[in-house]
Symmetry: C2
């Protein structure tokens, strides 16, 4: 889940899709690549209170199997948590050969334990996001559908192209998810069509509409699926999860 623009719903989407995939019976892992650890926090953890985080994995001091945690209240969902120390990894990795592959290599020993792995990237195109793109087979772009969304998509696609060319030929853009979609006006719909058209990107359906239920959920350490299971947002993310995991036969 990548988009260098801030606050476009990357974390919310990873959490909701991870919970939805687990609900479908798929063993799921969500990876928090953001030193701000919002995903880790939203799942109910205290990022400052963890004795080990993804940073220890990046430093080669602990394997993923020892750092990942099960998510309370969501059977079948694990998290590889982040902590602020991960900001140090960005600096540490900058000058090392093979710096893009650290996450990919670290995930290898556990890949057979999961059906779905979702990676939450920070709002930048730096080495952490590049690690996410290098480890992945697909990238989904959460899009806030406001004018500034255009700004970043071109650059993001260039970064993806670089990753594909130099370090990960398996990487495919799965498409765009419209997040916090405001369909009271034509503005958001226009931006969404325009981005899909200009960059020839699949627009995944349905859009996830704006709802106060999303604002409430992280406060109680829950995903939208636990906090408001019948809400339009939960329904939307479940449908998106089915499509992305190829479980469209369900329901």
């Amino acid at each position: 889940m990548a988009n260098q623009k801030g606050g476009v719903g990357k974390t919310t989407t990873v959490q909701a899709l991870g919970a939805a995939a687990a609900e479908l019976g798929l063993r799921s892992l969500v990876v928090d690549l953001d030193p701000q650890a919002c995903l880790t926090y939203s799942l109910g953890f205290d990022p400052d209170g963890l004795d080990r985080s993804l940073n220890d994995v990046f430093l080669g001091q602990a394997p993923v199997a020892e750092v990942r945690r099960t998510v309370p209240g969501v059977p079948g969902l694990d998290v590889l948590p982040a902590a602020i120390e991960l900001a140090g990894a960005e600096v540490h990795l900058l000058t090392r050969t093979g710096r893009e592959h650290v996450l990919a290599r670290a995930l290898v020993p556990v890949l057979d334990q999961y059906d779905v792995v979702l990676v939450d990237c920070p709002p930048s195109l730096s080495v952490l996001t590049v690690n996410g793109l290098t480890a992945a087979t697909g990238v989904v772009i959460p899009l806030q559908c406001e004018s500034l969304s255009f700004r970043g998509v071109g650059q993001l696609l260039e970064t993806i192209e670089d990753v594909r060319t130099f370090v990960n030929p398996t990487l495919v853009v799965r498409g765009v998810i419209a997040t916090m979609f405001d369909d009271r006006t034509r503005h958001a719909r226009h931006v969404l069509e325009e981005v899909g058209r200009r960059y020839e990107l699949p627009v995944l359906q349905p859009p996830v509409r704006k709802s106060i239920r999303f604002a409430e959920a992280p406060a109680v350490g829950k995903s939208i699926l636990q906090h408001a299971p019948g809400s339009a947002g939960a329904v939307a993310y479940r449908e998106l999860a089915r499509q992305l995991t190829g479980s469209a036969v369900a329901t």
Copy 2:
């Protein structure tokens, strides 16, 4: 204008306050510290089409006086524009002594030409944001008033404290601005009071309410003050500008 959380209104606030200060007759400079150059773009420039940007200043290859531009349609407002190359400055600066002071030193020759200088920081606490905090005398925290807002404020205040201790004793926290404030529910109001109370921060008034007018403005390269001068958002930012620039005698 600092807050490492993404999409909380830093850029919108810098643009609106800059335009409002210029309207008050104050000579104003807005500095775009974000490689994503959203402020530069929102002011009507093409960041990829600039022959020189803040990056050239950071590399010591051009003085601010040659790189700043006047903002079309906003008399009295200049911009120090960003470009994606600024991401390279973050890497370049990391290992250099005095890396926090690059912006502060670069601004010295032009400080007597401006009454107000506003700096737009990227969504991180890295060396670019630290340069902004080191150059400034005051920091304003735009707050989105959702649960994840808490997450970052503590860390941001610690960073500000470090900057104050080690490189810039003049730095003061001017307060919090509630951005895209949703007062249909108690949630946002509760978060705002709670942040102000817990961290003993002044809550600047009034809050800037959510409005579609803000989404429209960057699309036409205008601030809210030009795009919708009579709107509640424009009125709110004008009042905030008066307070922050000490021009509260007006109106």
